[in-house]
Amino acid sequence: MGHTFDELRAIVGDRGLISSAEELHTYECDGLTNFRVMPRAVVLPNTTEQVQAVVRICHRERMPFVARGSGTGLSGGALPVENGIVISLARMNRILEVDFPNARVVVEPGVINLDVTGRVSPQDYFYAPDPSSQSICSIGGNVAENSGGAHCLKYGFTTTHVLGLEVVLPDGSLVHFGGKTLDAPGYDLAGVFVGSEGTLGVATKIILRIVKRPECVRTLLAAFPSTNEAGAAVSDIIAEGMLPAAIEMMDNLAIQAAEAAVHANYPNCGGLLLVELDGPVAEVDALMTEVKKICSSNGAPEIRVAQSDAERALVWKGRKAAFAAMGRISPNYIVQDGVIPRTALPQVMSEIERLSQAGGLRVANVFHAGDGNLHPLVLYDRRIAGQEEAAEALSSQILELCIAAGGSITGEHGVGEDKKKMMAKMFAEPDLATMQRVRCAFDPLQLSNPTKVFPTPRLCGEKPGEYVPHSAESAGIAERY
């Protein structure tokens, strides 16, 4: 390894290579801290050429690598791999090009999500995907996870806003997917790459679409006796043919936590609904009147519309701080991310309540209610023997509820390390084997974040179905699990 380290150092410079155990600890996990693996080294390239040179060495040495942005992921996607290195894109943080007439921005992967909006907001544009961590998460990480956010109900996910990518493939070659113009001839490889959780290569340049700010934005808060009434109001809003920019829901425990953390001035109720409409003033005013009526008729005694940008910002601050706020009411908690068809909400909520009581653990609920994305937060105390295990079990049971309801095991946090075992519950073997074929086209040696996403990694060239030992396996240099 010494020689390889020297080569890596020659590429990224002394300050671009981290190899001391002390400094490596920073990189042993991402936002999901219960999985930890020490990488052999971390490299911090400055340029695409450096990324290519590093990946070529990994390819030559058959050394796995994991690309990392800001490390805010919540599924262990950026968790290092045994005997592998981490490629941190944090130093590649330049906004390379801003093109307002065509509403395109070209960035490096380490650019922070909110900095894109910061750069284009003087001209009244914004970058639409807004994960709650947007002030620290990177665009490269957003691409890997296909991040969503509260406003993706109307504006779409990261994949909608990525028009093109420059990618270093796992053999070190440089390729371009999509571009500044739409429908480039060929397969939609950008569409496959976004959300592939770092398993298909490393993005080094990203062409983004930016959006003109709407004429007005109005945010309504409605307090309901429980999440059931709030959910019924959401159904009515959708049935009326409205597509709000965001619909968020919080239950009482989540409200308490958010209040304790940021004093968002939320009404104390069983189910809080936040509805945001945006667009032309006349349109939004007309629709907001209807939303108010719908909330009243579904039993909301208190309805408020934020009267200023400051009030609106505070309303959102409470929502976006909701995960972290759990620290105020519980020593430990697990953030879950599941999706259900929105109409299954009352049934799934009552099941979660039942599981919560049976397990003796509190569950706070924060939802992107418009699209059925649930974030149940399972609260526990690690110091109490058995509680952590019970919380993990409860959290998994919630995902099984989501699958049973026809939903998904992840809406925006990704599969990563955390949920790879659940993949076999959501997909059948032929489904997973077909995804594996795509992976083998990109990464036949399986060097790029190799142990993530899929439950049973299969060597490329291996036939699914009948068990045939791969030559590497027979030779004792690879194993399956």
């Binding site: 571009g179 043919g241 999706v339 997973l432 795509v438």
Partner: protein
């Protein structure tokens, strides 16, 4: 013995044909006729499976036997892409046409590949919803065909392309594997996004058997306006200004041609109050240009481009450019058309996607398409030839796929190693 079972008529081993018949029933295996030819290549059999499993099984047997399979819906876009290098059988999805589940309260629909766009839209409309897409020939075009050809129209500006609307897909691979990916919920990041991979793949990776889409509400009211421009430059300035404004328009397109002044159309959807306010803003923004109310039919202008009697002398191409280079591109088209002595008409959307119709001698058409493609590719754009008259000298339908072509070939190799599906029809000989 009917034509389909005559060994000498098909060149297909009769035992294999009997296996096909055993799977789908005798009545669903036909000898192909001249009308089934694919870009001049004559297949031998047409098979119409009635279930996904049947389709997958036909595909598996064909793949084992080394046959070339051409998937087909209603065939409205069968001429798109290069002629196949081989074509043995047409695998028709027309009997797979069920609307499996319209979960209207969840704004999703699960539908089989052979269902037409129009029938789907009529069903969705019963609950005030739509697939927010306006492809060509909705009365005939099928879900599978529209997906495979990645067709989209004016609504794309607001609602995105098929890639943004499809949330799940089941595909039959050449080896008979039936694989699902995505799901039935709008928000879902579990596993690779294979629905996007097969969208626009022209059936070269697998046969789409069903798809799940996110839906949008039908608009409460709509208003369309046309705005005249004295020049392409003026039309472009209008488009860029609208895109940079606070208007919440749904569609925006420009008509250009060699003998008329440019006209832009804009579509608004929403409440009456909202529409009235937007009309006022539009009139302010258009300044001195004439703004007139337009009929809803202006949004099917794309179909009119295809309305030609003179097939041997007409070519149609899809171009992709940066929206702000619209005027420059039209000037380019004009210069090339003059040089090559061809007539031209174009419809360009504010997304930068456009449709170009050229009329002239076949050699001149090829010359014009070739020149224009070189120019557009140099500006990060593309030109895909969709209709080429038979007598036109050979011209690749796709143009350059860039430096990702080897990877695309690797994906094809993984999914369809024997090149059973639509061989030679896609980019780079895929």
């Amino acid at each position: 013995m009917d034509a389909a079972t005559k060994p000498e008529a098909s060149g297909l081993h009769s035992a294999l044909r009997h296996k096909f018949m055993a799977i789908v029933g005798n009545e669903n295996v036909h000898a192909a006729t001249a009308a089934d030819a694919v870009a001049g290549v004559q297949p031998k059999l047409v098979i119409e499976p009635g279930a996904e499993r049947e389709l997958a099984e036909i595909l598996r047997l064909s793949n084992e036997a080394g046959l070339a399979v051409i998937p087909r819906g209603n065939g409205t876009k069968l001429g798109w892409g290069n002629p196949p290098t081989r074509a043995d059988l047409i695998l028709s999805t027309t009997r797979l046409n069920e609307i499996i589940e319209h979960a209207w309260a969840d704004l999703t629909v699960t539908v089989e590949a052979g269902c037409t766009i129009q029938r789907l839209q009529e069903t969705l409309a019963q609950h005030g919803q739509r697939l927010a897409l306006d492809p060509l020939w909705p009365e005939k075009a099928t879900i599978g065909g529209v997906l495979s050809a990645n067709d989209s129209g004016a609504l794309r500006l607001r609602f995105g392309a098929l890639r943004d609307l499809i949330i799940g897909a089941t595909i039959a691979l050449a080896d008979g594997t039936l694989a699902s990916s995505g799901g039935k919920v709008v928000k879902n990041v579990a596993g690779y996004d294979l629905p996007k991979l097969v969208t626009g793949a022209l059936g070269t990776l697998g046969v789409i058997t069903r798809a799940v889409f996110r839906l949008h509400p039908l608009p409460r009211n709509t208003r369309s306006f046309s705005v005249a421009a004295a020049s392409a430059e003026e039309a472009k300035r209008f488009v860029v200004a609208v895109q940079d404004s606070k208007l919440a328009h749904t569609s925006l397109q420009c008509h250009f041609s060699d003998d008329t002044s440019p006209v832009s159309d804009i579509l608004f959807e929403g409440t009456e109050a909202g529409l009235a306010a937007q009309e006022n803003q539009l009139r302010d923004l258009a300044e001195h240009a004439a703004v007139s109310e337009a009929s809803r039919s202006t949004w099917t202008a794309r179909e009119e481009l295809w309305d030609f009697s003179d097939r041997p002398c007409t070519a149609i191409a899809k171009i992709s450019i940066l929206p702000a280079s619209m005027a420059r591109t039209m000037k380019l088209v004009e210069n090339i058309a003059n040089r090559q002595q061809v007539r031209w008409r174009a419809l360009v959307y504010a997304t930068g996607l456009g449709w170009l119709r050229l009329e002239g001698k076949p050699e001149a058409l090829r010359g014009a398409l070739h020149e224009l493609r070189s120019e557009l590719e140099a500006q990060h754009g593309s030109l895909v030839a969709l209709h080429r008259p038979e007598k036109m000298p050979a011209f690749d339908a796709w143009g350059s796929a860039g430096d990702a072509l080897p990877l695309m070939k690797a994906v094809k190799q993984q999914m369809d190693p024997k090149s059973t599906l639509n061989p030679g029809r896609f980019v780079g000989g895929i």
